[in-house]
Amino acid sequence: MAVEFMDHAASAYISQDKGWFEEEGLKLTAYESYVTGMALASALARGDIQVAYICLVPAINTYANAGVPIKVVAGTHKYGYGLVVNPNKIKTVKDLEKPDIRLGCVREGGAVDVLLHKTIDKYNLDEGKILDSIQRMNPPKQVLAIKMGQLDAAFLPEQWATMAEEFGFEMLLMSQDVWPEMQGSVLVVKEDLIRNHPDIVESLVNVSQKATDWANQHPQEASEVVAQQLQAVGGSLFPAEAAEAAAKLEITPEILLRSMTRLEYTTAVDPEVVQGTIDYIAGLGYIKSSFNAEEILDLRFLK
């Protein structure tokens, strides 16, 4: 199993902490965290991973571009991305077009990158100016760059967007402002796991549902559990080069509580929203052509 190093995968972190995977008879041979969805997608493509909690956009790329046979069996949340800005330099979204603005974003193919394009469309921004000013780096590096005063704005996934607020940045836009019903992360499994072990997939979805419900009912405790899990994973996750950077970015329960309230934790997946996402990233040229969302969805395990 692989998860993203974010509170997007709260249900996985909670299940791991509570021992619910074992309770359901699921024996994980590996449990790995990745800093970005794209890194996790590469691991999926290499064949190392059978189950992943991953943002929908990289999951679609994995299926369409790398031809990896995966299925989305449940959602984990809606929304969970935002644009944070230095309020002294940026007052409105239009200010992003200013020539001296240094804008951070993850690389092409990430969910926040797609949100950036949605923002350009919605606010009729000059695409050339915006894309020219972008510095591509992963979320922890962006937050560190914000802390060092090297960025003026950043498109970030949660919890990184909320962490940026700790360094004087303000949330100018949230994904719900730009992209109604935006699907955040999803639970994906390899097709052969569904074929050969549907019982395992059913258990995974059950655990995910249980953890999602629990997180919604106990937000305070959930933030503490996820904070504890992320801090524990963070030490071993980052390579030596980034370890120092990661250590400077403390993920506290308070930050996570604020961050997690900005997400809507739900296992439900709307096929129309998924289809809209597929069509949109096909329009951006990120996948060769659009395809039917039913090809990548298998929601029969959701109750």
Binding site: A41, A45, N61, T62, N65, A66, I134, Y286
Partner: protein, 253 residues
């Protein structure tokens, strides 16, 4: 034997065709280790056509080409001038050689972090990297070429009344040409390798940046298209200078 010689140019393409055939078959029959995606040659060709038709490849190629041409030309001219001066004037050589010897072994990409801080991310960064990549080897080869010219030729020219400039331009430089061209030929290919690496790390446009974008989107076909373009450009640049060398020095070498 004669017939074999006549067939030679055509035979050169046979291994390439066999290689492409094996590639196509291996991909179509899914003979790839693990589960990673491996596109067929025909898929890569189609993607090449698509990227060319929509202008993405052209734009990226042009960005890289302009950087290489400006950086390489500036670095080569500066290297040639400095190399001639150092090769021709022993005093200057003795003064500058320790510095050049210290800086020459630093890989061009080693300068990247420093230049990113000094110049920021813009066109000046890759051009400067290419400049450095070309400057030191061409300076070194030029200076060595001029210093190793047989002194007897220089003495004869001097005895016949030739001025220093005349000796330099008509005796020393032509005799140093093979060395100079070796530097130019090797660095012409190296400039492409370096620009791709620089674009992959720090520059948002060009063939290297297109490769990174393709990597994050897991578009292996686009990565292979870029690698083919890179291979063709390295080879073309090296062959161009090999051709120039043959044309300029072939008659008397």
């Amino acid at each position: 034997m004669n017939r074999l010689k006549q067939l030679k140019p055509g035979w050169g393409i046979v291994p390439v065709v066999i290689f492409l055939g094996i590639w196509e078959m291996a991909a179509r029959l899914n003979f790839t280790p693990g589960q990673f995606s491996f596109p067929a040659f025909s898929t890569v060709l189609m993607e090449f056509y698509y990227l060319t038709a929509n202008g993405v490849l052209g734009d990226s190629f042009l960005s890289s080409l302009v950087r290489v041409l400006i950086g390489f030309s500036a670095g080569s001219i500066a290297g040639l001038v400095m190399g001639i001066i150092m090769g021709w004037r022993e005093v200057i050589n003795k003064a500058l050689n320790p510095i050049v010897s210290l800086l020459y072994p630093i890989p061009a990409l080693g300068w990247l972090p420093l230049l990113m801080l000094w110049l920021g991310i813009g066109e000046a960064l890759p051009i400067t990297i290419i400049f450095i990549c070309s400057f030191f080897p061409i300076l070194y080869n030029t200076a060595t070429g001029i210093r190793t010219v047989d002194r007897n030729y220089v003495q004869v020219a001097r005895t016949l009344g030739a001025s220093d400039i005349k000796i330099l331009t008509t005796v020393a430089m032509p005799l140093a040409l093979p060395n100079i061209f070796t530097g130019l030929r090797l660095e012409a290919g190296m400039a492409w390798r370096v620009i791709i690496a620089a674009e992959m790390v720090a520059i948002p446009t060009g063939i290297g940046a297109l490769m990174m974008k393709a990597e994050s989107l897991m578009r292996i076909d686009i990565i292979i298209v870029c690698l083919i373009v890179l291979a063709v450009m390295c080879l073309s640049f090296e062959r161009f200078f090999a051709f120039l060398e043959t044309r300029l020095t072939g008659q008397w070498r």
